[in-house]
């Protein structure tokens, strides 16, 4: 292209530069403009309602199930098409928050355990009370109270249980037990001797190091986060909080006693892994961990990754009271914002919670079904799908499940708790000192929480 001074005929340099600058500016402005609705692809012959649905991906096996579940919904309701939004769990809360903040949150989405209150407290969830009470297909009383109890916010139903309700399991590697000539945990269960003390003893007995000091077998794993404590405290009959939710019961002597065991296991027994040992290496999936703390929702993933491991499971160990059995249930909710397609969102989550889908989830996700009426069908098929001795304990676990304590300040509590509890585990500070520090801060946070 020749550049000429006068601009006539051929494009002058100045004119070219002006044109280029204008095009660049237009491109920037165009890229900032929101997409016009309904302009992507060809318009369907029949008008379909598009709804958006978000969930977190908890591994390949779990994610596949969610995709299939949405396929089921679209098959049953061909007038709906679902815009599927999945993201890693660690990013789910932040992403959802920014979507609500920018006014384009999905019409329906999952909500992790214990956070129903936090979201409902912010006023973004739809009140489902009248819908649940007027719909005969939803047998609210027929679902486990431990599950439905956490669907409420200030006496209003704001959520439906999601997938199936997860039960805490302790998975053991039979091969490691056989090689170490240690009795497997089902024997302890049979003699009602599966306690936290036995857990410690067996973890120590199964731990193995090579001649050059490298760990070959990890005895056990455990955490002392708020999640883990739900299991522990319920096993000692200690509620997470006092009645009016003003005090965190971490300083209960039984809980302190349990916590005091952990630095000994870490530093003396060497049966627990230190944080930098366990951070990036999955000892369980590698077949090098004797006893693994897990839950029913991990089973779909274990089916894919633990193929070479001979494993089985028992409930979590027993404290003074009972076998730890807290319910780690997640929920589905409907976006209560004005722009959301609430009717469609309600149809979506109601479908996922329906009796047929409830059983489907329970059989594929290996958690208990929400409905007692599905229990027999579920139990009778489990052993055919994944043959394990552990299924024999499932009914008891389901019937004695304890609910997660719903609180609006879970993130704040997690932050305070996780900030210091590691020092107790590692033995850097005395357990009693750490516990006092945490409970004081948590109680103060609760008092100031708005």
């Amino acid at each position: 292209m020749e550049f000429q001074q006068n601009g006539h005929g051929n494009l002058s340099r100045r004119r070219f530069l002006t044109l280029a600058a204008s095009l660049a500016g237009t491109a920037v402005l165009a890229s900032c403009a929101p997409a016009a609705p309904g302009t992507t692809g060809n318009a369907p012959a029949e008008a379909k309602t598009e709804i958006s649905f978000a969930w977190w991906t908890g591994g390949e096996g779990a994610n596949k199930l969610f995709e299939q579940s949405i396929d089921h919904f679209e098959e049953k309701y061909p007038n709906y098409t679902v815009n599927r939004i999945s993201m890693p769990y660690a990013e789910f809360g932040t992403k959802l928050l920014t979507m609500y903040g920018s006014g384009n949150a999905p019409d329906a989405h999952g909500i992790p355990y214990g956070t129903v209150w936090s979201w409902a407290h912010k006023g973004v969830l739809m009140d489902l009370t009248s819908l649940v009470e007027s719909d005969d297909s939803i047998d609210w009383e027929g679902m486990w109270p431990a599950v439905t109890g956490a669907c409420y916010y200030q006496a209003k139903i704001v959520a439906l249980p999601r997938e199936s309700f997860g039960l805490r399991l302790y998975v053991y590697n039979k091969t490691i037990f056989d090689e170490a000539e240690v009795e497997t945990l089902d024997k302890d269960m049979a003699t009602d001797n599966w306690t936290w003390q036995v857990w410690r003893e067996k973890a120590k007995a199964l731990t193995k190091f090579s001649a050059d000091g490298r760990r070959e077998i990890m005895g056990a794993n455990v955490g002392a986060g708020y999640w883990d404590l739900q299991v522990v405290m319920s096993s000692y009959g200690v509620p997470m909080f006092n009645e009016d939710l003003t005090h965190f019961n971490l300083d209960d002597p039984k809980v302190v006693g349990w916590l005091s065991m952990l630095p000994e296991m870490l530093n003396e027994d060497l049966s627990l892994g230190k944080p930098d040992e366990t951070k990036e290496f999955d000892w369980g999936a590698s077949g090098k961990q004797a006893i693994s703390q897990s839950a029913t929702w991990a089973i779909p993933n274990m089916r894919e990754t633990w193929t070479d491991i001979d494993w089985d499971f028992v409930p979590a160990p027993k404290g003074d009271c009972c076998h730890s059995n807290f319910v780690g249930c997640d929920y589905h909710v409907v976006n209560g914002s004005d722009y959301a397609k609430k009717d469609a969102g309600w149809e979506m989550i109601k479908f996922i919670n329906s009796p047929e889908e409830d059983l489907w989830w329970a059989l594929n996700f290996f958690g208990a079904p929400f409905r007692k009426s599905n229990l027999d069908a579920w139990q009778s098929q489990l052993n055919n799908i994944v043959p394990k001795d552990g299924w024999q304990y499932m009914l008891d676990m389901t019937e004695t499940a304890t609910p997660w304590t719903p609180i609006p300040f879970q993130d704040e509590l997690d932050t305070i708790h996780n900030n210091e509890i590691g020092q107790a585990l590692s033995g850097e500070r005395p357990v009693e000192e750490v516990v006092m520090s945490i409970t004081t801060k948590v109680d103060k946070m609760i008092a100031n929480f708005k």
Binding site: R14, L17, T18, A21, S22, A24, G25, V28, L29, C32, T94, L97, T98, Y100, G101, K122, G123, V124, K274, P275, D276, E277, K279, E280, D411, E412, T415, N418, N419, E420, G422, Q423, S426, E428, R429, S437
Partner: protein
């Protein structure tokens, strides 16, 4: 002669009276328009993604805002809580300041030292320069994970090296006493960025000055103190200011490696700000925190610039004469 007026200048034949703005010619207007159009994309980006959020944060700092509901005006409440009620604000300020006070001099000293070593006609200088600079371009998250392993109490490289000289290393990242020190050590990993700049500065020092000093009997240290340091003082000033801005905005290491623990030992200010914004949904308070750190960095930078008049020398400048 009255007609011989060059655009933008005043002719001696111009009438005496109030000054009039010279009317721009068509060509000049076109040039100005072209200039604005060329700068347009940057200006739009600045307004949308810098000035806009700045203004929004300035407003939100005076509100109670949780993203999910409308912002409620609360006046100076956020600042009152920040200064007089929030203990963690002062913890975060202290941690961040200590980190900056220790890491910046170390980075400047080490960078300068390595640059002096490399400032000679050695073979492979370009390769060495690249090697030292490489860590700077690596992803902060990936580097953080790498350093978690380096600082591992039982398996880490650092404690292994210390054990060779009979020292039992601490539990770096899980120790309240050593976690911040670990992150200071880690900050030296990216000294290469400064090294390259120091090297450029050193290579700009006229060699005749060193020759003249040698003739006068100056030793190595004297030459360094009286010639090298003054002449690269502008570079040091630049690195100091950039270092202050960077160190006070440290986030990744605290987020990835320690989550601010143990027991707030590595609670960097930006990590605390992020928590308030995105974990606790206190956007209004987080905006107030953002303005606090902005003011803090601005004041420190101005102090450094003011003090620099006494120790920074620019070529050709004569001290005392402005």
């Amino acid at each position: 002669m009255a007609k011989e007026i060059v655009a933008g200048t005043t002719s001696i034949n111009a009438p005496i009276g109030p000054k009039r703005k010279a009317k721009m010619s068509l060509m000049a207007r076109r040039e100005e328009l072209t200039g604005w159009l060329m700068a347009g994309p940057w200006i739009i980006g600045f307004l949308l993604w810098t000035a806009g959020p700045f203004g929004a944060a300035a407003y939100l700092a005076f509100t109670d805002y949780d993203i999910l509901s409308t912002a409620q005006y609360t006046g100076l409440e956020n600042f009152r809580v920040m200064l007089f009620q929030d203990e963690l604000f002062w913890v975060a300020m202290r941690v961040t300041t200590v980190y900056a006070l220790v890491s910046i001099p170390l980075q400047i000293g080490l960078g300068l030292f390595l640059a002096i070593l490399l400032n000679s006609r050695i073979r492979g200088l370009a390769w060495l320069r690249t090697l030292y600079y490489l860590p700077t371009i690596l992803s902060g998250v990936a580097v953080s994970f790498l350093w978690v392993w380096v600082f591992s109490a039982d398996w880490g490289v650092l404690n292994y090296v210390l054990s060779l000289v009979g020292i039992q290393g601490p539990s770096w990242l899980t120790s309240q006493d050593w976690a911040l020190s670990a992150l200071v050590i880690m900050s030296l990993w990216s000294v290469g960025a400064g090294l390259v700049i120091y090297l450029a500065g050193l290579q700009g020092v006229p060699t005749e000055l060193y020759e003249a000093a040698e003739l006068d009997g100056a030793g190595r240290w004297r030459k360094f103190w009286s010639i090298t340091l003054p002449l690269i003082s502008p570079v040091i000033l630049f690195q100091l200011i950039i270092g202050i801005i960077g160190a006070l905005q440290t986030f990744t290491q605290g987020y990835v490696m320690t989550e601010g623990g143990p027991n707030n030992a590595t609670l960097f200010f930006l990590l605390y700000l992020w928590r308030n914004a995105f974990k606790f949904l206190n956007m209004g308070y987080a905006s107030a925190l953002a303005w606090a750190i902005f003011a803090y960095i601005l004041v420190l930078t101005l102090i450094v610039l003011r003090l620099s008049e006494s120790w920074v020398f620019y070529t050709g400048e004569i001290k005392g004469r402005r």
